[in-house]
Symmetry: C2
Subunit: 230 residues, 2 copies
């Protein structure tokens, strides 16, 4: 019955005691973009069975990282959301995302799952407040059949699910094309030139958007050498 723990007086080890088990941090990642229902979580995490998801959620709830809530009208269905402690794991996930974009992300490979929400977090991870200085614009993304948007202003980014109110530019792409751009594997300009990404609205807002992000330079773990972007 005793939970497995590293039994070390070390903040990092204690953190891993809480979120180090398989799937746990990915559940947190899902909830970082807002409350989600059990089924949504299950769908976003292929390979994670309902039994284990249930167990993870109960554990996170008992530990105060997640709480149950009820979705606002008209949904009114039960859902899970992060507590303050859970929300503050965002810097941990962002640090991992930046590292992964630089050292680990290839593909997308055949058969890999992809959720546009992951790219939303990726955008937050590489947002650069300095580069975004003076920018105030709203972008809508239509990725496959999902719609999300990002509002850049005041040196901050706020990216969420759903359509934008009055977007300055609209970006339309397949999930795969968007994934390649968001991961830094394909340059936005090349994707547009190839017709894999379509942009409507204010073209100058688009060039501003590029300023607001700083993609980590991709490199090979074994050699440390930079890898081509496009």
């Amino acid at each position: 019955m005793a939970r497995r723990t590293y039994n070390q007086f070390c903040a990092t080890a204690k953190t891993l005691d809480l979120i180090g088990e398989r799937w746990t941090l990915l559940v947190v990642r899902e909830l970082l973009s807002g409350p989600k229902r059990f089924g949504d979580l299950h769908r976003s995490l292929p390979g994670l069975g309902t039994a284990l998801l249930s167990s993870r959620l109960r554990y996170l709830e008992a530990e105060g990282l997640v709480r149950s809530t009820t979705l606002p009208a008209p949904a009114r269905t039960p859902a899970y959301e992060l507590t303050e402690a859970g929300e503050e794991l965002r810097p941990v996930v962002m640090a991992m995302a930046r590292w992964g974009m630089r050292w680990a992300l290839d593909g997308p490979a055949e058969g890999e799952a992809f959720e546009p929400g992951w790219a939303v977090l990726g955008m937050q991870a590489i947002f650069d407040p300095e580069g975004a200085e003076g920018i105030d614009a709203v972008f809508e993304f239509r990725i496959g059949d999902e719609v999300l948007h990002a509002r850049i202003g005041g040196g901050e980014i706020d990216s969420r699910y759903g359509p934008a109110d009055r977007p300055d530019a609209v970006i339309v792409a397949t999930a795969e094309a968007f994934a390649e751009v968001a991961s830094g594997r394909l340059r936005l300009a090349d994707a547009i030139a190839a017709g894999r990404v379509e942009v409507s609205g204010d073209r100058s807002a688009l060039s501003e958007m590029k300023r607001a992000f700083r993609w980590p330079e991709r490199a090979d773990r074994r050699t440390g050498q930079a890898r081509a972007t496009s």
Copy 2:
């Protein structure tokens, strides 16, 4: 034979594919304070068997996060060290350390392992470049039977094993007392008043040191309420 992977096109998931297994990130944490021999790693990680440690090291080596090296004279023994990719996991570990200090670190509890090197990383985690502006000083710490030092200057901190060249102040404490202070559970002033920490040398350098760190406010995960420090 196929390695277990989340199979997601997501930078965070890819990172977890590499460092998400049990013990892996703690091995990285150990190597963040410099090259270490197999036996040193084994001793610092009670509960991790030699078989699993060996397997983790071979995996990390194959993946380009760790490489074998030879310790400089007079040791000349084989050891392991981080590659550039491994070293760049530092922000991930630091983010976890900050979260853990705020939300997870109690104790130290009976029977918990503690290595002074962990506190060295903790100091890096809570170092505040703004607060450290204008400070230029060297501190030596004698924790139990280990000696380490920190050099603060130019808005940066450089903390390492071994004695300092000409320290401005020397701090002597038991491992337990030092751990309590470094974790933010006990205030330095109180520890000195209680005679659990002794300071010699420049007292003004010491008060400068306090400015250079920003302890996260400790809070309870379930309630979000702040917890007393001392």
